[in-house]
Subunit: 403 residues, 2 copies
């Protein structure tokens, strides 16, 4: 029985999602499930728009305006004003754009500050950019708890992911942004594990840039387009490094010279992926009228229940996430030396979380399609896998290509 | 009646495409039409893969391997060996990657040579890269006919689109690549208007890099993923400028340091757009067993018929494309001072071509879904629009956002 101290989740809308029978899905922090209406909407986009309108779809179905239109929907979920967010490309590309623009704002400084809890691709993209610049920039990677103290007047830009993809540890966005600004640095936040997970207030944070993906808590589908936010006072002046025609102020004039569009549109690059963007646009309708504060409260209740039940029943596991929910995103991670095999055994029994090397078992909680009964049922299976050492089975030890 | 001197097109497979009633589609050079099977395949990807497999799709449906798998299919259509092409991002991004890699191969040279017939976004991306490098590089843009003569020992890389998007004028890829190599320059070809239009032989060309899009003659849908080719002898050593995790040699080890994957996989960047990639993968099945030489022969026959009929019946138009089909891609362009309004009048009557400023009316020919009867029917409508000056109607003069 679910613990009745945990309130029911008022924003539960399980029936809006395609959830396979026998599955408890605790991996929406990696890839959100399919919202049911996406299949029909994608079908109509294919046949009624691409099929019937053909090239006319760019105007008649406003495919051209879609990256900005969807950007405004995402913007509303991260506390960003209309016209400050645009969709496109992948998160890696958006990190690159944001960092290149940030460095151009601080040409006299040479340090990019990040932390070892950042998602690796952010660090890879930064290194590639800095190497190519060849101007003696340094990527300084410190432990997450050392970030605030490392903010000094050499730092051109601080580039952090708010929520650690392994442990769920959450930075204090407002406090760190203040530290960055006090040191004269530009602040870039990666909201991959924030958008759709809990309230974000980009305006209040005062950070210059934010980027994120939409296939996790926003349920946009595998490889859904990324987003970029530029603080409105900067968006008419930042110089895009990736000067694509869709960010030109007159893309269909076909001038040989580049002139950036006004505002956030200049952060567009190439032709947007309309099929994928349409699936995302439909998926985002789930959020109509949903309070992100209510989502957060319900997610915290689910996480607290999960931690409590796991710690009571599965002493083999050690909590890897911060115990204080205020310092945590919407996932709970436990360490277990045989975590890889144990996670395969769980998945084989319909409890889908994931594993991050070397020993992290990750479980994501999103109250749109999970309730207290799911949490207890998941812990039942986890208890079975651990108590009976079901993870010892050889079939759970073969490494998959993607973990 | 179609001119019987023009042979029927043996590769015609009109029934495989969704073509609206009353439309003659002469804009496949901008956005190819929907292959009928794409709708069902995309539906099954959404429900059976994303819906049922959830995160397991990366392994079980091999979403992870898809960019390379689809790359091999595209590779076969452009004369590139298995393992030399990978899909992802947009063409703008792929241009950037190719140029950054090319410049790294010629660190002692400072000129990027291109021409005024290149698609503007290629030039914009190049300018953005060169400005960011800040090493005194120059983007030298000459007239298309001056490219060969401009190839000298200052040129680090020559970056050209094989077929001019406005006129259809086609470069001699083999000859220009030889010129580039004789001058010690690296050669980059943009195949946007080549792939799927006629035979391309990347191996024979000996060019180092090629890039292209898949939403034109390859019918992958609006915003379909782009491709990049790297000559096999270079693909283990080129240093990617956009160091995304999907191009890492062990993306799921989550190392903080970047180490590129072996071969073409290093040109991957972020998480691939799986829905869009699946639509493309299905669309490419159209090409199973189709001879690109037969496609080319049939396209030339359609174009010759079109030019002949237009010149006989529409003296208001002036041919803007090369008269020799060997110097032309798979489109025919005519100049007409009122081309914008005339094209709107044509589209209003179901003959869909497009317009490029200042006065180019473009018509694309692809024998997969067009035959000689379509050509004559299109010229009938064109003749009506011009002879009766139907383009004078005010409703055809309002500029659309996207032209």
């Amino acid at each position: 029985m679910p613990d009745t101290r945990h309130a029911p989740t008022p924003i539960l809308c399980k029936d809006l999602f395609h959830l396979p029978d026998g599955v408890i899905y605790l991996d929406g922090n990696s890839l959100g499930p399919l919202p049911k209406s996406v299949a029909a909407r994608t079908q109509s986009m294919l046949t009624d728009e691409w099929g019937d309108l053909l090239i006319r779809g760019w105007n008649k179905a406003d495919w051209f305006g879609q990256p900005g239109r969807v950007g405004d929907v995402v913007g509303a979920l991260i506390g960003a004003p209309v016209g400050s967010v645009v969709m496109g490309d992948t998160l890696s590309i958006k990190v690159y754009q944001a960092l290149a623009a940030a460095l151009a704002l601080r040409p006299d400084r040479k340090v990019v500050l990040s932390d070892s809890g950042n998602f690796p691709t952010d660090l890879y993209m930064a290194r590639g950019l800095l190497e190519m610049l060849g101007q003696g920039h340094e990527l300084r990677v410190v432990a997450p708890e050392e970030v605030a103290g490392a903010m000094d007047d050499t730092v051109a830009a601080a580039m952090l992911t708010e929520v650690d993809y392994r442990t769920g540890r959450r930075h204090d966005m407002a406090a760190i942004t203040r530290k960055a600004h006090d040191a004269g640095a530009v602040m870039i936040w990666d909201l991959a594990h924030s958008a759709g997970a809990f309230p974000v207030d980009m305006t209040a944070s005062n950070a210059e840039f934010a980027v994120g993906c939409t296939y996790k808590y926003l349920n946009g589908g595998p490889g859904a387009p990324a987003f970029i936010y530029v603080r409105p006072d900067l968006s008419d002046t930042v110089r895009p490094a990736l000067q694509g025609w869709m960010g030109h102020n007159a893309p269909f004039a076909f001038d040989l010279d580049y002139a950036p569009a006004g505002g956030i549109e200049r952060m567009r690059v190439g032709t947007p992926p309309v099929i994928q963007m349409t699936a995302l646009e439909e998926a985002l309708k789930i959020w109509d009228g949903v309070s992100m504060h209510a989502v957060r409260d319900a997610a915290v209740a689910l996480m607290e229940q999960f931690i409590e039940e796991v710690e009571a029943r599965c002493p083999q596991l050690t909590l890897a996430s911060p115990r204080d929910p205020a310092q945590r995103g919407s996932q709970v991670s436990f360490r277990f030396a045989e975590g890889y095999a144990a996670m395969q055994a769980l998945i084989d029994r319909g409890v889908i979380g994931d594993f991050r090397a070397p020993d992290i078992m990750r479980f994501g909680f999103t109250p749109l399609y999970l309730d207290a009964g799911d949490v207890t049922a998941a812990v039942d299976v986890l208890d079975d896998v651990l108590s009976n050492e079901l993870w010892r089975d050889e079939k759970y030890r073969a490494k998959a290509r993607v973990t």
